[in-house]
Symmetry: C2
Subunit: 281 residues, 2 copies
């Protein structure tokens, strides 16, 4: 199932950066929010990894995602102006590129601090070196406008993968994702079809059916089967949930037909029968 | 810093297993709870990884932790009786051991289902094959009693590392951790000392001080320096937070003294001065 899904769906890893996630100070709500967004778009999140603000750790985790052929690597956190905001150093190291001052990012920061100074949030709009640090992007990267805070998001290609870096402040992360990243994903995520079906089985214990279900899963890759056993009037009753993922809806239905056929055959051979949902409730 | 901390502190990875974490259905509160517990005991969580209910994925992530020399690998989720509870298969694959029926785990399940049947929660106390599946542990593993639900936790050694598997239901995870795992950790986590200190710097811009702080961090490993810049009456004011981790308190203080000495010297060379916290607020 995994391997088939992998080929069909666009694959994502979410990498959350910050020591505050590792000592339990902060609950990783950003990762959940991103996972929800990505799933909603039809993408598949393979792993969510939290690591500390450490260049080697960040680089190691990103290299691991690249090695596994992940299509989109989304990081959150570590884009600010302080010493321990080292996400872009970690990314640069992972993709073996230099950090260079990005002209467009400098413009974004200039405009941003002009507004922040006007609003009295900061004292001066001056682009100090530590503010300019936020415009040091891996060579070839594109800054993504941040309408809420200062640090721009970052988008870069690395071979066939793309890396997106978002700030850790939830409102900034959400702003950049929704305005700058989601439109790109909507165009590039592979479209997939999904179909599902329930089958109800009476008179076969789950443990007896289990190896036959395993067989079905092996013989019809692309179909996911989850069994929910119950006891109804002392007899075994199993609700089987089947789900298929394929390029087109028709292919999903064909996969489900094939899986159902094998399951019905197995149930009959085991002396059970296919039931109706409402039976003997 | 990272490398020094690594040698001093007992290292943990938390591996959370379940597709529901990857599509945003469930927020990973178990990982945060575990991270908080582990930090409270003086351990250091290096990574938190969420993966799906997939034997190869689980095995791959665990092997990665073992390869990185992590002392304790704590997994959550995937210990139940259904097809897609495959955590122990993943662990067994990672450590190249067979799953075998564990006698002590069978006893635990027998007692558990006896009580559950008495309470009317389940119809029969019979240890069906799918209930017995929860007693199939990697060879050499020790079951950890679950006072709340059915699936026992699991503890096993793998070289110099230890792997602990906990159920995904929070009340069960917390019960097994607090009653069975925490007492072992309290004895085995390396004791460390921590000390911290603030230094206030006036008249040096943060961007000018930054490279000198980097130097200090390199010359005094074991000291973590975080700077919090402010503007006070138009002049630069930096609050520097220093934290040292070492075996003994005295060693921490020595490290902090050494770091402070270097910082004072740098500040003076740069034409600034050491200030009092309350100055020019």
């Amino acid at each position: 199932m995994a391997s088939r899904r992998r080929r069909l769906q666009t694959l994502f890893d979410i990498i959350s950066i910050g020591y505050e996630l590792l000592d339990g100070r902060v609950l990783n709500t950003n990762a959940r929010w991103l996972a929800e967004q990505i799933s909603g778009l039809g993408g598949r999140v393979c792993r969510i990894v939290a690591v500390g603000d450490d260049v080697d750790e960040i680089s190691s985790v990103i290299r691991d995602s690249l090695r596994r052929g992940i299509d989109w690597i989304i990081t959150s956190g570590g884009l600010g102006p302080t010493y321990d905001d080292v996400t872009l150093q970690g990314v640069a190291k992972a993709v073996k590129r230099k950090l260079v001052q990005n002209r467009r990012a400098v413009e974004m920061l200039r405009e941003r601090y002009r507004v922040l100074a006007e609003e009295g949030v900061v004292e001066s709009p001056e682009l100090t070196p530590h503010r300019l640090k936020m415009a040091m992007l891996p060579r070839g990267a594109k800054p993504l406008e941040n309408e809420v805070g200062a640090a721009p998001g970052v988008l870069l290609r690395a071979g066939r993968s793309r890396i997106v870096c978002l700030p850790g402040v939830p409102s900034e992360l959400e702003n950049i994702f929704l305005k700058q990243v989601k439109p790109i994903l909507e165009k590039s995520i592979r479209k997939i079809a999904v179909a599902d079906r329930w089958i109800y089985v009476r008179g076969v214990p789950e443990s007896t059916l289990a190896p036959r279900i395993e067989e079905v899963r092996e013989r019809v890759p692309g179909v996911y089967v989850k069994s929910h056993p119950e006891k109804r009037e002392g007899e075994s009753f199993i609700r089987l949930y089947l789900k298929a993922i394929a390029k087109r809806k028709e292919d999903c239905e064909k996969l489900l037909d094939r899986a159902e056929e094998l399951i019905v055959k197995a149930v009959e051979e085991l002396g059970g029968r296919i039931a109706e949902e409402g039976e003997a409730r």
